[in-house]
Amino acid sequence: MSLLQVEGLTTRFQGDAGTITAVDGISFTLDRGETLAIVGESGCGKSSAALSLLRLVPAAGSARLDGRDLLALGERDLLAVRGGEIGMVFQEPMTSLNPVLTIGEQIAEALHAHGSTTRERARVRAIELLGLTGIPDPQRQVEAYPHTLSGGMRQRAMIAMAIACAPKLLIADEPTTALDVTVQAQILELLRDLQSRLAMALLLITHDLGVVAELADRVAVMYAGRIVETAPAERLFAQPLHPYTAGLLTASLAFEDSSGPLTEIPGQPPDLAALAAGCAFAPRCPRADARCRIETPLLRRESDRAVACHHAVA
Protein backbone atom coordinates (compact mmCIF):
# COMPACT_ATOMS: atom_id res chain seq x y z
CA MET A 1 0.00 0.00 0.00
CA SER A 2 1.20 3.48 -0.77
CA LEU A 3 2.24 5.73 2.08
CA LEU A 4 0.04 8.54 0.82
CA GLN A 5 -3.10 8.14 -1.27
CA VAL A 6 -4.74 11.33 -2.39
CA GLU A 7 -8.11 11.21 -4.09
CA GLY A 8 -10.18 14.02 -5.48
CA LEU A 9 -8.33 16.68 -3.48
CA THR A 10 -10.15 19.96 -4.02
CA THR A 11 -9.33 23.37 -2.59
CA ARG A 12 -11.51 26.39 -3.17
CA PHE A 13 -10.94 29.98 -2.14
CA GLN A 14 -13.51 32.71 -1.91
CA GLY A 15 -12.19 35.74 -3.78
CA ASP A 16 -13.54 39.12 -4.83
CA ALA A 17 -14.22 37.71 -8.27
CA GLY A 18 -16.12 34.68 -6.93
CA THR A 19 -15.00 31.20 -6.01
CA ILE A 20 -11.62 30.08 -7.26
CA THR A 21 -10.91 26.39 -7.53
CA ALA A 22 -7.17 26.34 -6.85
CA VAL A 23 -6.97 22.54 -6.71
CA ASP A 24 -9.55 20.76 -8.79
CA GLY A 25 -9.97 17.14 -7.77
CA ILE A 26 -6.42 15.85 -8.05
CA SER A 27 -5.41 12.29 -7.21
CA PHE A 28 -1.97 10.83 -6.71
CA THR A 29 -0.06 8.34 -4.60
CA LEU A 30 3.33 8.41 -2.97
CA ASP A 31 5.24 5.34 -1.83
CA ARG A 32 7.51 5.05 1.17
CA GLY A 33 10.91 6.60 0.47
CA GLU A 34 9.78 7.86 -2.91
CA THR A 35 10.12 11.39 -4.29
CA LEU A 36 7.19 12.82 -6.16
CA ALA A 37 7.58 16.28 -7.67
CA ILE A 38 4.53 18.39 -8.32
CA VAL A 39 5.63 20.85 -10.94
CA GLY A 40 3.84 23.82 -12.44
CA GLU A 41 3.88 27.58 -12.78
CA SER A 42 2.52 30.28 -10.47
CA GLY A 43 -1.14 29.81 -9.72
CA CYS A 44 -1.36 26.21 -10.92
CA GLY A 45 -2.35 25.03 -7.45
CA LYS A 46 0.77 23.13 -6.47
CA SER A 47 1.33 24.97 -3.19
CA SER A 48 -2.37 24.91 -2.34
CA ALA A 49 -2.29 21.14 -2.82
CA ALA A 50 0.63 20.84 -0.38
CA LEU A 51 -1.03 23.11 2.19
CA SER A 52 -4.26 21.14 1.82
CA LEU A 53 -2.57 17.92 2.87
CA LEU A 54 -1.66 19.52 6.19
CA ARG A 55 -5.07 21.21 6.34
CA LEU A 56 -3.40 24.61 6.47
CA VAL A 57 -6.10 25.56 3.97
CA PRO A 58 -9.55 23.94 3.89
CA ALA A 59 -9.87 21.09 1.42
CA ALA A 60 -12.27 18.40 0.28
CA GLY A 61 -11.61 14.89 -0.99
CA SER A 62 -9.43 12.42 0.83
CA ALA A 63 -5.73 12.10 1.60
CA ARG A 64 -4.80 8.87 3.35
CA LEU A 65 -1.49 8.66 5.14
CA ASP A 66 -0.91 5.03 6.09
CA GLY A 67 -4.64 4.52 5.65
CA ARG A 68 -5.75 7.42 7.89
CA ASP A 69 -7.61 10.20 6.12
CA LEU A 70 -5.81 13.47 6.94
CA LEU A 71 -8.81 15.46 5.80
CA ALA A 72 -11.08 13.73 8.34
CA LEU A 73 -8.78 13.92 11.37
CA GLY A 74 -9.89 15.63 14.57
CA GLU A 75 -7.94 18.65 15.77
CA ARG A 76 -5.83 16.70 18.26
CA ASP A 77 -4.80 14.03 15.77
CA LEU A 78 -4.14 16.70 13.18
CA LEU A 79 -1.67 18.45 15.49
CA ALA A 80 0.11 15.16 16.00
CA VAL A 81 0.47 14.68 12.25
CA ARG A 82 1.72 18.20 11.54
CA GLY A 83 5.42 18.21 12.27
CA GLY A 84 5.13 14.62 13.49
CA GLU A 85 4.40 12.20 10.69
CA ILE A 86 4.60 14.98 8.10
CA GLY A 87 7.32 17.60 8.09
CA MET A 88 7.19 20.70 5.96
CA VAL A 89 9.84 22.96 4.51
CA PHE A 90 8.73 26.29 3.09
CA GLN A 91 10.26 28.43 0.39
CA GLU A 92 11.24 31.45 2.41
CA PRO A 93 13.00 30.38 5.61
CA MET A 94 13.20 33.93 6.94
CA THR A 95 9.43 34.36 7.02
CA SER A 96 8.85 30.82 8.29
CA LEU A 97 11.22 31.00 11.23
CA ASN A 98 10.34 32.93 14.36
CA PRO A 99 12.74 35.89 14.51
CA VAL A 100 12.66 36.18 18.32
CA LEU A 101 13.45 32.55 19.13
CA THR A 102 16.80 30.87 18.69
CA ILE A 103 17.12 28.07 16.18
CA GLY A 104 17.53 25.63 19.07
CA GLU A 105 14.35 26.82 20.80
CA GLN A 106 12.37 26.39 17.58
CA ILE A 107 13.59 22.86 17.06
CA ALA A 108 12.89 22.09 20.72
CA GLU A 109 9.35 23.40 20.24
CA ALA A 110 8.74 20.72 17.63
CA LEU A 111 10.20 18.05 19.92
CA HIS A 112 8.10 19.15 22.91
CA ALA A 113 4.94 19.26 20.79
CA HIS A 114 5.38 15.64 19.78
CA GLY A 115 6.25 13.90 23.00
CA SER A 116 7.43 15.10 26.35
CA THR A 117 11.14 15.52 26.54
CA THR A 118 13.34 17.39 28.95
CA ARG A 119 14.88 20.72 28.04
CA GLU A 120 18.33 19.25 28.17
CA ARG A 121 17.43 16.30 25.95
CA ALA A 122 15.71 18.57 23.44
CA ARG A 123 18.82 20.71 23.28
CA VAL A 124 21.07 17.73 22.66
CA ARG A 125 18.74 16.50 19.96
CA ALA A 126 18.60 19.98 18.37
CA ILE A 127 22.38 20.06 18.17
CA GLU A 128 22.34 16.60 16.65
CA LEU A 129 19.77 17.69 14.05
CA LEU A 130 21.72 20.81 13.14
CA GLY A 131 24.78 18.65 12.65
CA LEU A 132 22.77 16.27 10.51
CA THR A 133 21.72 19.10 8.22
CA GLY A 134 25.31 20.22 7.79
CA ILE A 135 25.32 23.36 9.93
CA PRO A 136 28.91 23.96 11.01
CA ASP A 137 29.58 24.30 14.74
CA PRO A 138 26.08 23.21 15.84
CA GLN A 139 26.86 23.63 19.57
CA ARG A 140 27.20 27.35 18.93
CA GLN A 141 24.58 27.77 16.20
CA VAL A 142 21.87 26.24 18.36
CA GLU A 143 21.90 29.58 20.22
CA ALA A 144 21.75 31.64 17.02
CA TYR A 145 18.81 33.76 15.96
CA PRO A 146 17.55 33.37 12.38
CA HIS A 147 18.69 36.83 11.25
CA THR A 148 22.31 35.99 12.01
CA LEU A 149 22.27 33.06 9.59
CA SER A 150 22.69 33.13 5.81
CA GLY A 151 19.86 32.03 3.52
CA GLY A 152 21.36 28.59 3.04
CA MET A 153 21.91 28.08 6.78
CA ARG A 154 18.36 29.20 7.53
CA GLN A 155 17.02 26.66 5.08
CA ARG A 156 19.15 23.99 6.77
CA ALA A 157 17.67 25.03 10.13
CA MET A 158 14.17 24.79 8.63
CA ILE A 159 14.96 21.31 7.39
CA ALA A 160 16.30 20.36 10.82
CA MET A 161 12.96 21.43 12.35
CA ALA A 162 10.98 19.58 9.71
CA ILE A 163 12.81 16.29 10.27
CA ALA A 164 13.00 16.66 14.06
CA CYS A 165 10.33 14.02 14.69
CA ALA A 166 11.49 11.65 11.94
CA PRO A 167 8.51 12.21 9.64
CA LYS A 168 7.43 9.57 7.14
CA LEU A 169 6.70 12.29 4.67
CA LEU A 170 8.53 15.53 4.06
CA ILE A 171 6.76 18.18 2.03
CA ALA A 172 9.17 20.71 0.54
CA ASP A 173 7.58 23.71 -1.14
CA GLU A 174 10.14 25.39 -3.44
CA PRO A 175 12.92 24.58 -0.95
CA THR A 176 15.70 26.08 -3.07
CA THR A 177 13.95 28.83 -5.02
CA ALA A 178 15.19 31.64 -2.79
CA LEU A 179 18.76 30.34 -2.80
CA ASP A 180 21.78 30.93 -5.01
CA VAL A 181 22.85 28.24 -7.40
CA THR A 182 25.88 27.05 -5.40
CA VAL A 183 23.80 26.95 -2.20
CA GLN A 184 20.93 25.31 -4.04
CA ALA A 185 23.29 22.51 -5.01
CA GLN A 186 24.15 22.00 -1.31
CA ILE A 187 20.51 21.88 -0.22
CA LEU A 188 19.52 19.46 -2.97
CA GLU A 189 22.36 17.21 -1.93
CA LEU A 190 21.27 17.47 1.70
CA LEU A 191 17.66 16.57 0.88
CA ARG A 192 18.79 13.57 -1.13
CA ASP A 193 21.09 12.43 1.63
CA LEU A 194 18.54 12.87 4.44
CA GLN A 195 15.86 11.13 2.45
CA SER A 196 17.87 7.99 2.00
CA ARG A 197 19.21 8.05 5.57
CA LEU A 198 15.80 8.57 7.18
CA ALA A 199 13.80 6.63 4.56
CA MET A 200 11.38 9.52 4.16
CA ALA A 201 9.02 10.04 1.27
CA LEU A 202 9.45 13.47 -0.29
CA LEU A 203 6.72 15.53 -1.87
CA LEU A 204 8.58 18.23 -3.75
CA ILE A 205 6.68 21.28 -4.94
CA THR A 206 8.56 23.29 -7.53
CA HIS A 207 8.38 25.33 -10.72
CA ASP A 208 11.94 24.41 -11.64
CA LEU A 209 12.40 21.47 -13.98
CA GLY A 210 16.10 21.48 -13.10
CA VAL A 211 15.26 20.71 -9.47
CA VAL A 212 12.77 18.06 -10.59
CA ALA A 213 15.45 16.43 -12.71
CA GLU A 214 17.78 16.36 -9.71
CA LEU A 215 15.51 14.76 -7.17
CA ALA A 216 12.27 13.30 -8.46
CA ASP A 217 11.42 9.64 -9.03
CA ARG A 218 8.03 10.56 -10.39
CA VAL A 219 6.54 13.83 -11.59
CA ALA A 220 3.03 15.25 -11.67
CA VAL A 221 2.56 18.32 -13.87
CA MET A 222 -0.19 20.71 -12.79
CA TYR A 223 -2.00 23.31 -14.87
CA ALA A 224 -4.95 25.41 -13.69
CA GLY A 225 -5.60 23.24 -10.64
CA ARG A 226 -5.43 19.87 -12.33
CA ILE A 227 -2.80 17.23 -12.91
CA VAL A 228 -2.36 17.12 -16.68
CA GLU A 229 0.39 14.53 -16.79
CA THR A 230 2.17 12.17 -14.47
CA ALA A 231 5.08 9.86 -15.24
CA PRO A 232 8.39 8.51 -13.96
CA ALA A 233 10.88 11.41 -14.15
CA GLU A 234 13.12 9.97 -16.83
CA ARG A 235 10.21 9.11 -19.08
CA LEU A 236 8.58 12.48 -18.62
CA PHE A 237 11.72 14.33 -19.65
CA ALA A 238 12.52 11.93 -22.48
CA GLN A 239 9.03 11.90 -23.91
CA PRO A 240 6.44 14.34 -22.59
CA LEU A 241 2.91 13.46 -23.67
CA HIS A 242 0.96 16.57 -22.73
CA PRO A 243 1.52 19.60 -25.00
CA TYR A 244 1.92 21.78 -21.89
CA THR A 245 4.67 19.54 -20.51
CA ALA A 246 6.33 19.53 -23.92
CA GLY A 247 6.07 23.33 -24.03
CA LEU A 248 7.55 23.71 -20.54
CA LEU A 249 10.45 21.47 -21.45
CA THR A 250 11.30 23.36 -24.63
CA ALA A 251 10.94 26.69 -22.82
CA SER A 252 13.35 25.52 -20.08
CA LEU A 253 16.88 26.39 -21.02
CA ALA A 254 19.32 23.52 -21.01
CA PHE A 255 22.60 25.40 -20.47
CA GLU A 256 24.01 24.73 -23.88
CA ASP A 257 25.35 26.68 -26.84
CA SER A 258 22.47 27.82 -28.94
CA SER A 259 21.15 31.11 -30.20
CA GLY A 260 18.06 32.46 -31.84
CA PRO A 261 14.74 33.19 -30.20
CA LEU A 262 13.60 31.21 -27.18
CA THR A 263 10.65 28.87 -27.59
CA GLU A 264 7.54 30.56 -26.29
CA ILE A 265 4.30 29.16 -24.98
CA PRO A 266 1.89 31.69 -26.48
CA GLY A 267 -0.65 33.51 -24.33
CA GLN A 268 -0.99 33.82 -20.58
CA PRO A 269 -1.76 31.36 -17.80
CA PRO A 270 -5.54 31.22 -17.34
CA ASP A 271 -7.55 33.32 -14.93
CA LEU A 272 -8.87 30.75 -12.46
CA ALA A 273 -11.89 32.93 -11.69
CA ALA A 274 -12.98 32.80 -15.32
CA LEU A 275 -12.08 29.37 -16.63
CA ALA A 276 -13.77 28.50 -19.90
CA ALA A 277 -15.23 25.07 -20.60
CA GLY A 278 -13.02 22.30 -21.90
CA CYS A 279 -9.27 21.92 -21.47
CA ALA A 280 -7.76 24.88 -19.57
CA PHE A 281 -4.64 24.75 -21.75
CA ALA A 282 -6.59 24.83 -25.04
CA PRO A 283 -6.25 28.62 -25.63
CA ARG A 284 -2.45 28.26 -25.62
CA CYS A 285 -2.18 24.81 -27.19
CA PRO A 286 -0.89 24.19 -30.72
CA ARG A 287 -2.91 20.97 -30.93
CA ALA A 288 -6.23 22.24 -29.67
CA ASP A 289 -9.38 21.76 -31.75
CA ALA A 290 -13.11 22.21 -31.25
CA ARG A 291 -13.39 19.20 -28.96
CA CYS A 292 -10.77 20.59 -26.56
CA ARG A 293 -12.89 23.71 -26.06
CA ILE A 294 -15.96 21.73 -25.05
CA GLU A 295 -14.89 18.56 -23.35
CA THR A 296 -12.46 18.58 -20.42
CA PRO A 297 -9.96 15.76 -20.97
CA LEU A 298 -9.68 13.27 -18.09
CA LEU A 299 -6.46 11.78 -16.83
CA ARG A 300 -6.06 8.51 -18.80
CA ARG A 301 -3.71 5.93 -17.34
CA GLU A 302 -1.32 3.92 -19.48
CA SER A 303 1.03 1.57 -17.60
CA ASP A 304 3.15 3.77 -15.32
CA ARG A 305 2.06 7.14 -16.66
CA ALA A 306 -1.05 9.16 -17.30
CA VAL A 307 -2.04 12.15 -19.39
CA ALA A 308 -5.11 14.38 -19.63
CA CYS A 309 -5.23 15.38 -23.29
CA HIS A 310 -7.40 14.58 -26.28
CA HIS A 311 -4.41 14.91 -28.57
CA ALA A 312 -1.46 13.68 -26.53
CA VAL A 313 1.93 14.10 -28.18
CA ALA A 314 3.30 10.96 -29.88
Binding site: E41, S42, P136, S150, G151, G152, M153, D180, V181, T182, V183, Q184, A185, Q186, E189, H207, D208, L209, G210, V211, V212, A213, E214, A216, A233, E234, F237, A238, G247, L248, L249, A251, S252, L253, A254, F255, E256, D257, S258, S259, P261, L262, T263, E264, I265, Q268, P269, R284
Partner: protein, 308 residues
Protein backbone atom coordinates in the same frame (compact mmCIF):
# COMPACT_ATOMS: atom_id res chain seq x y z
CA UNK B 1 35.51 52.71 -29.78
CA UNK B 2 33.33 51.04 -27.15
CA UNK B 3 29.92 52.51 -26.31
CA UNK B 4 30.40 52.04 -22.57
CA UNK B 5 33.69 51.94 -20.70
CA UNK B 6 33.73 51.16 -17.01
CA UNK B 7 37.05 51.62 -15.26
CA UNK B 8 37.95 50.61 -11.72
CA UNK B 9 34.42 51.19 -10.56
CA UNK B 10 33.95 50.93 -6.79
CA UNK B 11 31.14 51.47 -4.35
CA UNK B 12 31.42 51.34 -0.60
CA UNK B 13 28.14 51.76 1.24
CA UNK B 14 27.75 53.23 4.68
CA UNK B 15 28.82 50.63 7.22
CA UNK B 16 31.78 49.65 5.08
CA UNK B 17 30.08 47.24 2.67
CA UNK B 18 32.38 47.09 -0.34
CA UNK B 19 29.69 46.07 -2.81
CA UNK B 20 31.77 46.79 -5.91
CA UNK B 21 35.52 46.85 -5.66
CA UNK B 22 37.44 47.78 -8.81
CA UNK B 23 35.34 46.54 -11.71
CA UNK B 24 36.36 47.30 -15.31
CA UNK B 25 34.72 46.28 -18.55
CA UNK B 26 33.61 47.76 -21.84
CA UNK B 27 30.65 47.26 -24.07
CA UNK B 28 30.26 47.90 -27.82
CA UNK B 29 27.23 49.33 -29.54
CA UNK B 30 24.64 46.65 -30.26
CA UNK B 31 26.40 44.09 -28.06
CA UNK B 32 24.93 42.01 -25.21
CA UNK B 33 27.28 41.93 -22.26
CA UNK B 34 26.33 39.82 -19.27
CA UNK B 35 27.23 40.11 -15.61
CA UNK B 36 26.54 36.92 -13.72
CA UNK B 37 26.90 36.20 -10.03
CA UNK B 38 25.07 35.24 -6.87
CA UNK B 39 23.24 37.47 -4.42
CA UNK B 40 25.51 40.00 -2.81
CA UNK B 41 28.17 39.84 -5.51
CA UNK B 42 27.48 43.45 -6.47
CA UNK B 43 25.85 42.95 -9.86
CA UNK B 44 22.82 45.13 -9.14
CA UNK B 45 25.09 47.79 -7.65
CA UNK B 46 27.06 47.84 -10.92
CA UNK B 47 23.79 48.34 -12.81
CA UNK B 48 22.72 51.21 -10.56
CA UNK B 49 26.17 52.81 -10.78
CA UNK B 50 26.17 52.68 -14.57
CA UNK B 51 22.75 54.37 -14.47
CA UNK B 52 24.08 56.88 -11.91
CA UNK B 53 21.14 56.00 -9.69
CA UNK B 54 23.76 55.85 -6.96
CA UNK B 55 27.11 57.63 -6.87
CA UNK B 56 30.33 55.65 -7.25
CA UNK B 57 33.00 55.82 -4.56
CA UNK B 58 35.69 55.63 -7.24
CA UNK B 59 36.17 54.89 -10.91
CA UNK B 60 35.04 56.16 -14.28
CA UNK B 61 32.00 55.44 -16.44
CA UNK B 62 32.25 56.69 -20.01
CA UNK B 63 29.34 56.53 -22.41
CA UNK B 64 30.10 57.57 -25.98
CA UNK B 65 33.40 58.97 -24.73
CA UNK B 66 31.62 61.27 -22.25
CA UNK B 67 32.76 60.75 -18.69
CA UNK B 68 29.45 60.47 -16.84
CA UNK B 69 31.15 60.35 -13.47
CA UNK B 70 32.54 63.85 -14.04
CA UNK B 71 29.08 65.31 -14.61
CA UNK B 72 26.73 66.64 -11.99
CA UNK B 73 23.11 65.54 -12.04
CA UNK B 74 22.07 68.60 -14.08
CA UNK B 75 24.85 68.22 -16.64
CA UNK B 76 24.03 64.54 -16.82
CA UNK B 77 20.46 65.17 -17.91
CA UNK B 78 21.13 65.65 -21.65
CA UNK B 79 22.80 62.22 -21.64
CA UNK B 80 20.10 60.40 -19.68
CA UNK B 81 18.10 59.38 -22.74
CA UNK B 82 21.04 57.30 -23.98
CA UNK B 83 20.81 54.86 -21.12
CA UNK B 84 17.69 53.33 -19.63
CA UNK B 85 16.94 50.50 -17.27
CA UNK B 86 14.60 47.52 -16.94
CA UNK B 87 14.16 46.34 -13.36
CA UNK B 88 13.55 42.90 -11.90
CA UNK B 89 10.24 43.67 -10.26
CA UNK B 90 8.06 45.29 -12.90
CA UNK B 91 5.23 45.83 -10.45
CA UNK B 92 7.45 47.86 -8.16
CA UNK B 93 8.86 49.75 -11.14
CA UNK B 94 5.45 51.02 -12.22
CA UNK B 95 3.37 53.60 -10.37
CA UNK B 96 0.18 51.75 -9.39
CA UNK B 97 -1.92 54.90 -9.81
CA UNK B 98 -0.55 55.80 -13.21
CA UNK B 99 -2.06 54.37 -16.39
CA UNK B 100 0.12 52.44 -18.78
CA UNK B 101 -0.15 55.28 -21.26
CA UNK B 102 1.03 57.85 -18.71
CA UNK B 103 3.90 55.59 -17.64
CA UNK B 104 5.21 55.13 -21.17
CA UNK B 105 4.66 58.82 -22.00
CA UNK B 106 6.50 60.12 -18.94
CA UNK B 107 10.05 59.95 -20.36
CA UNK B 108 8.81 61.60 -23.56
CA UNK B 109 7.19 64.41 -21.61
CA UNK B 110 10.31 64.87 -19.49
CA UNK B 111 12.33 65.08 -22.71
CA UNK B 112 10.07 67.93 -23.80
CA UNK B 113 7.98 66.26 -26.51
CA UNK B 114 4.58 67.74 -27.19
CA UNK B 115 1.48 66.11 -25.82
CA UNK B 116 0.31 64.99 -29.27
CA UNK B 117 3.72 63.64 -30.20
CA UNK B 118 3.99 61.73 -26.91
CA UNK B 119 0.54 60.27 -27.34
CA UNK B 120 1.31 59.01 -30.84
CA UNK B 121 4.66 57.55 -29.83
CA UNK B 122 3.14 55.92 -26.73
CA UNK B 123 0.48 54.24 -28.86
CA UNK B 124 3.14 52.97 -31.24
CA UNK B 125 5.34 51.65 -28.41
CA UNK B 126 2.48 49.86 -26.68
CA UNK B 127 1.57 48.17 -29.95
CA UNK B 128 5.20 47.25 -30.54
CA UNK B 129 5.37 45.35 -27.24
CA UNK B 130 2.07 43.63 -27.95
CA UNK B 131 -0.17 45.70 -25.66
CA UNK B 132 -2.20 47.80 -28.10
CA UNK B 133 -5.38 49.32 -26.79
CA UNK B 134 -4.36 49.13 -23.13
CA UNK B 135 -3.12 52.69 -22.56
CA UNK B 136 -5.93 53.59 -20.18
CA UNK B 137 -5.47 50.59 -17.94
CA UNK B 138 -3.53 50.32 -14.69
CA UNK B 139 -0.55 48.07 -13.83
CA UNK B 140 -2.56 45.74 -11.56
CA UNK B 141 -4.73 44.72 -14.51
CA UNK B 142 -1.77 43.03 -16.19
CA UNK B 143 0.13 39.80 -15.66
CA UNK B 144 3.80 39.82 -14.67
CA UNK B 145 5.01 39.30 -18.22
CA UNK B 146 2.80 42.05 -19.57
CA UNK B 147 4.01 44.45 -16.88
CA UNK B 148 7.58 43.78 -17.84
CA UNK B 149 6.69 44.60 -21.45
CA UNK B 150 5.25 47.92 -20.27
CA UNK B 151 8.52 48.65 -18.45
CA UNK B 152 10.45 47.80 -21.63
CA UNK B 153 8.25 50.08 -23.73
CA UNK B 154 8.87 52.92 -21.26
CA UNK B 155 12.61 52.27 -21.23
CA UNK B 156 12.75 52.35 -25.03
CA UNK B 157 10.64 55.49 -25.44
CA UNK B 158 13.69 57.72 -25.82
CA UNK B 159 15.53 55.28 -28.09
CA UNK B 160 18.47 54.66 -25.75
CA UNK B 161 21.78 53.28 -26.93
CA UNK B 162 22.23 51.18 -23.82
CA UNK B 163 19.60 49.24 -21.94
CA UNK B 164 20.59 48.00 -18.49
CA UNK B 165 18.49 44.92 -17.66
CA UNK B 166 18.68 43.79 -14.04
CA UNK B 167 17.22 40.28 -13.75
CA UNK B 168 14.37 41.24 -16.10
CA UNK B 169 12.78 37.79 -16.16
CA UNK B 170 13.72 36.30 -12.79
CA UNK B 171 10.27 36.73 -11.32
CA UNK B 172 8.47 35.40 -14.40
CA UNK B 173 7.24 31.91 -15.13
CA UNK B 174 9.15 29.82 -17.64
CA UNK B 175 6.37 29.94 -20.21
CA UNK B 176 6.24 33.75 -20.10
CA UNK B 177 9.97 34.41 -19.76
CA UNK B 178 10.60 33.62 -23.41
CA UNK B 179 8.25 36.39 -24.64
CA UNK B 180 10.17 39.02 -22.71
CA UNK B 181 13.61 37.77 -23.74
CA UNK B 182 12.56 37.51 -27.38
CA UNK B 183 11.09 41.00 -27.26
CA UNK B 184 14.37 42.37 -25.88
CA UNK B 185 16.24 40.61 -28.71
CA UNK B 186 13.93 42.06 -31.36
CA UNK B 187 14.22 45.57 -29.95
CA UNK B 188 17.97 45.19 -29.79
CA UNK B 189 18.13 44.42 -33.50
CA UNK B 190 15.63 47.11 -34.48
CA UNK B 191 17.28 49.88 -32.50
CA UNK B 192 20.89 48.71 -32.48
CA UNK B 193 20.67 48.62 -28.68
CA UNK B 194 23.47 47.47 -26.47
CA UNK B 195 22.32 45.39 -23.50
CA UNK B 196 24.02 45.23 -20.14
CA UNK B 197 22.32 42.12 -18.87
CA UNK B 198 22.50 41.24 -15.18
CA UNK B 199 21.40 37.80 -14.07
CA UNK B 200 22.07 34.89 -11.77
CA UNK B 201 20.71 32.48 -14.38
CA UNK B 202 23.61 30.85 -16.19
CA UNK B 203 21.49 29.03 -18.75
CA UNK B 204 19.87 32.27 -19.81
CA UNK B 205 23.21 34.05 -19.82
CA UNK B 206 24.77 31.40 -22.00
CA UNK B 207 21.92 31.77 -24.42
CA UNK B 208 21.89 35.54 -24.83
CA UNK B 209 25.16 37.22 -23.82
CA UNK B 210 28.06 37.44 -26.28
CA UNK B 211 30.53 38.31 -23.56
CA UNK B 212 30.19 37.62 -19.87
CA UNK B 213 31.81 38.75 -16.63
CA UNK B 214 31.54 36.59 -13.53
CA UNK B 215 31.35 38.65 -10.36
CA UNK B 216 32.23 37.39 -6.87
CA UNK B 217 32.14 39.64 -3.80
CA UNK B 218 32.40 42.83 -5.80
CA UNK B 219 35.15 41.75 -8.16
CA UNK B 220 35.30 40.29 -11.64
CA UNK B 221 36.89 36.86 -11.30
CA UNK B 222 36.55 35.90 -14.95
CA UNK B 223 35.60 37.64 -18.17
CA UNK B 224 35.45 36.13 -21.64
CA UNK B 225 33.53 35.54 -24.85
CA UNK B 226 30.63 33.20 -24.48
CA UNK B 227 32.20 30.32 -26.41
CA UNK B 228 35.42 30.39 -24.43
CA UNK B 229 33.88 30.99 -21.01
CA UNK B 230 31.28 28.25 -20.96
CA UNK B 231 33.33 25.65 -22.79
CA UNK B 232 36.43 26.06 -20.63
CA UNK B 233 35.76 28.07 -17.46
CA UNK B 234 39.16 28.88 -15.92
CA UNK B 235 38.28 30.25 -12.51
CA UNK B 236 37.33 27.65 -9.87
CA UNK B 237 34.28 29.72 -8.91
CA UNK B 238 33.00 29.73 -12.49
CA UNK B 239 33.69 26.00 -12.67
CA UNK B 240 31.62 25.45 -9.53
CA UNK B 241 28.80 27.63 -10.85
CA UNK B 242 28.74 25.77 -14.15
CA UNK B 243 28.74 22.41 -12.43
CA UNK B 244 25.79 23.46 -10.25
CA UNK B 245 23.50 24.75 -13.01
CA UNK B 246 20.22 22.89 -12.77
CA UNK B 247 19.68 20.94 -15.97
CA UNK B 248 16.16 19.95 -17.03
CA UNK B 249 17.35 16.45 -17.85
CA UNK B 250 17.53 13.74 -15.17
CA UNK B 251 19.98 11.56 -17.07
CA UNK B 252 22.54 14.30 -17.69
CA UNK B 253 22.13 16.00 -14.33
CA UNK B 254 22.59 12.86 -12.29
CA UNK B 255 25.54 11.63 -14.33
CA UNK B 256 27.66 14.76 -14.20
CA UNK B 257 30.44 15.58 -11.81
CA UNK B 258 29.36 18.31 -9.48
CA UNK B 259 31.57 20.62 -7.48
CA UNK B 260 29.69 21.38 -4.28
CA UNK B 261 31.23 24.43 -2.63
CA UNK B 262 31.64 24.69 1.10
CA UNK B 263 29.58 27.28 2.89
CA UNK B 264 28.05 30.51 1.73
CA UNK B 265 29.65 33.54 0.16
CA UNK B 266 31.37 35.57 2.91
CA UNK B 267 29.97 38.94 3.89
CA UNK B 268 31.06 41.89 1.73
CA UNK B 269 31.46 43.86 4.98
CA UNK B 270 34.51 41.85 5.80
CA UNK B 271 35.70 40.01 2.69
CA UNK B 272 38.64 37.59 2.88
CA UNK B 273 42.05 39.08 2.19
CA UNK B 274 43.83 38.10 -0.99
CA UNK B 275 41.68 36.05 -3.33
CA UNK B 276 38.14 36.55 -2.12
CA UNK B 277 37.12 33.09 -3.17
CA UNK B 278 39.82 31.27 -1.24
CA UNK B 279 37.64 30.50 1.80
CA UNK B 280 35.41 28.31 -0.39
CA UNK B 281 37.94 27.16 -2.94
CA UNK B 282 39.13 23.57 -3.05
CA UNK B 283 42.36 24.61 -4.75
CA UNK B 284 43.37 27.32 -2.28
CA UNK B 285 47.04 27.44 -1.22
CA UNK B 286 49.19 29.87 0.69
CA UNK B 287 49.74 32.00 -2.41
CA UNK B 288 46.02 32.77 -2.48
CA UNK B 289 46.52 35.14 0.44
CA UNK B 290 47.92 37.53 -2.14
CA UNK B 291 45.47 39.10 -4.54
CA UNK B 292 45.45 37.40 -7.94
CA UNK B 293 45.44 39.82 -10.90
CA UNK B 294 42.82 39.52 -13.62
CA UNK B 295 45.16 38.29 -16.36
CA UNK B 296 44.79 36.88 -19.82
CA UNK B 297 44.65 33.06 -19.76
CA UNK B 298 43.61 32.61 -23.40
CA UNK B 299 42.92 35.08 -26.21
CA UNK B 300 40.12 37.39 -25.03
CA UNK B 301 39.73 35.37 -21.84
CA UNK B 302 40.84 36.75 -18.48
CA UNK B 303 40.66 35.13 -15.06
CA UNK B 304 41.75 36.22 -11.57
CA UNK B 305 43.23 33.03 -10.15
CA UNK B 306 46.80 31.98 -9.41
CA UNK B 307 46.03 28.56 -10.83
CA UNK B 308 43.95 29.47 -13.89
Amino acid sequence: MPLLEVENLAKTFAGGVRAVDGVSFSLDAGETFGIVGESGCGKTTVAKLVMRLIEPSAGRIRLDAVDLTALGQRALRPHRHKLQMVFQDAYAALNPRQTVGAAIALPLRVAGRSHAESRAETTRLAARVGLEGTLDRFPHEFSGGQRQRIVIARALALKPKLLVCDEPVSSLDVSVRAHVINLLGEMQRELGLALLFISHDLSLMRRIAGRVAVLYLGRIVEIADRASLWAVPRHPYTQALVSAVPLPDPVRTRARHRIVLRGDPPSPVNPPSGCRFRTRCWMAQEICQTDPALREVAPGHRAACHFA
